[in-house]
């Protein structure tokens, strides 16, 4: 229902211009929790602001339900925003803040009061309706900002890193809260964050961005298990990367030869279909260890370090003929210097596009 087509946004003029978004296209569906994920400066906030209307794109189309909105000011777009620092109006009470959008739309007072009441119930802030907003805690301000943005029943809710100012426990609680709200209201949420755990937890789909471009769009499983590029693989979770030679490709499966001579099969994203020198990647928790002589092993190595971190153990290994891996296991570790066999399951071994 939101269609961003070939949008470019530049800041500044001439030589020193910064290209914040470079020919970016994405489609976001109805009733979806969609996340824009990336490091600072990748353009995710700029994209959000373009959808909201605070900036005009230099080129490209922004469509909402088929209607062009790219040139409209924010007050003419049925889209509302939850800001990073909440931006609550300090001279108004909680109830007045929440009702502000409806007031501006010219709704009758009775309807406003009714909706404000429902919103307060939705975010569980009924008791604080008449409190001034500068007397609230961070978490409470958060919820008021949410209620305020939801009250006018927008078609899309934009959230600009709304949880970044909260402490960890509150944050985890709010993540669940936001997911629940999205389900209950059925409104499309577009969520911006740099925290990949947050993105994986909450999203229906994620768009990973870097340097003004979208690198990959997919659901959390796909992004995590089949990262299409080196950047995505590196940015999300821990990853092991090895050099290899790809000898043949059929459908989405490729045969790769590792430095040790061992041959494995790996998943190939459609982009990197040509045989040749490639990088392959695998997540630490997908690596299995076995005896150094067992048949199902892919290659062998020597344990160089064993690090226990509570919920599991990281085992660092140097592979024979080059390369190193870190495996994660819950079973407890081996000993330093021990020779082990390493299993790299083909469904988790991924060829990367650089």
């Amino acid at each position: 229902m939101i269609s961003v087509e070939r949008v470019t946004k530049r800041f500044g003029m001439g030589e020193s211009a910064v290209v914040a978004l470079d020919d970016v296209s994405v489609t976001i569906s109805e009733n979806e929790f969609f996340t824009l994920l990336g490091p600072s400066g990748c353009g995710k906030t700029t994209l959000l602001r373009l959808i909201a209307g605070f900036e005009l794109p230099n080129k490209g189309l922004i469509l909402l339900d088929g209607q062009e909105i790219g040139h409209l000011p924010p007050y003419r777009r049925p889209v509302n925003t939850v800001f990073q620092n909440y931006a609550l109006f300090p001279h108004m009470t909680v109830a007045q803040n929440i009702g502000f959008g409806l007031e501006m739309l010219g709704k009758p007072a009775a309807e406003i009061a009714d909706t404000v009441g429902r919103m307060l119930a939705l975010v569980r802030m009924e008791a604080l309706a008449d409190r001034r907003t500068d007397q609230l805690s961070g978490g409470q301000q958060q919820r008021v900002a949410l209620a305020r943005a939801l009250a006018p029943q927008p078609k899309v809710l934009l959230l600009d890193e709304p949880l970044s100012a909260l402490d960890l426990k509150l944050r985890k609680g709010m993540q669940i809260e936001l997911k629940r709200l999205q389900h209950e209201t059925g409104i499309t949420f577009v969520f911006v964050t740099h925290d990949q755990d947050e993105a994986l937890t909450m999203s229906d789909r994620i768009a990973v961005m870097e340097a003004g471009k979208i690198l990959q769009i997919g659901d959390p499983k796909e992004i995590y298990n089949h990262p299409a590029s080196r950047f995505v693989a590196d940015f999300i979770g821990d990853i092991n990367i090895l050099k290899a030679e790809m000898t043949e490709v059929r459908d989405h499966t490729g045969t790769v030869r590792l430095a040790s001579g061992a041959v494995a099969r790996a998943h190939v994203p459609s982009a990197a279909l040509a045989p040749g020198a490639v990088s392959v990647a695998i997540r630490p928790e997908h690596i299995h260890l076995c005896g150094p002589a067992e048949d199902n092993r892919t290659c062998t190595g020597v344990i160089t370090n064993v690090i226990y971190f509570g919920s599991g153990t990281h085992i660092h290994m140097d592979l024979d003929q080059g390369g190193s891996l870190i495996a994660r296991t819950t079973l407890g570790g081996g000993a330093i210097g021990e020779r082990v066999g390493v299993v790299l399951p083909s469904e988790h071994l991924q060829v990367l596009v650089d």
């Binding site: 087509e5 005009l56 794109p57 490209g60 189309l61 790219g70 040139h71």
Partner: protein
Amino acid sequence: MDSAGLLDDADRRLADAQRLRARQTNRTRGLLLAPALVIIGVFGLFPLTITLIYSLLEPGAYGGVKWVLSGEAYVQFLFNRDIFDGTLRFSTSYLQIFGRSIGLAFVATIGALILGFPTAYFIATKPPAQRNLWLFIITLPFWTNLLIRTYAMLLIIRDEGLINLSLIGIGIVEKPISILYTDTAVFLGLIYSYLPFMVLPLYASLEKLDFRLVEAAYDLYATRWQVLRRIIIPIAKPGIVAGCILVFIPGLGAFITPELLGGGKKLMIGNLIYLQFGTLRNWPFGSAAALILLTVVMIALLIYIRNAGKAAPGHG
């Protein structure tokens, strides 16, 4: 319509929207600025051209001007014209007044600096919670009426004033010391008027002083004097320059202080100009003197701006 065509249309709409927004912003901004700029431009800046014109005319019989072009006002500044035979003789009387003004303003600036620096330092080294209170205490006199403050000083330093009576009462002197109507009185009055102007910029600079630098200096066996000279004062330099300008320029054009405390004998430029528009009825000369004062002030300001620009990198 093909998608390329759709995109082109969209781009055009975007460019239009961009242009429209820019135009609206400029129009609003222009409307908002207009009253202030017009009123100050017409009634604050434009009159200076009138002054320039007047300085090149002849004085009218009862004040005002006669619309006859003449450079006499500027000539009068440096020369006396003999009223009988019209010859010119070089005269220093007006130069003296200018000289005294510059001298007094300069000395007052130094005095304000010597007094103001420790005061600003005192406030800057107080615990942060207290500083606003101290700033308030220092600046409060500035906001009260300058005339009344100068009058209060007059009451104290005159012959029958508190200082003299106390000195006589204690027995240090027998006759009152003439403080009033001397250069010293004007000097004291100038410092009294503009001391807060020196303290505030000094405070702004000193507040930024990181005492860990001082600590490091002491750690390296520096004496108090060296710390002051080599660390504290250089860091306070922008404040020192700003404070000096803020005292010197108003001091140069001071009127009330020399009027009340100089008693008509110790004229400064301000009094001289005022007289021309009052009893002496020589508007052109007054205008000329005013313009010369303005020029000196502008030069001082330009020097400051140039120096401030040089001092800025590294001081932010």
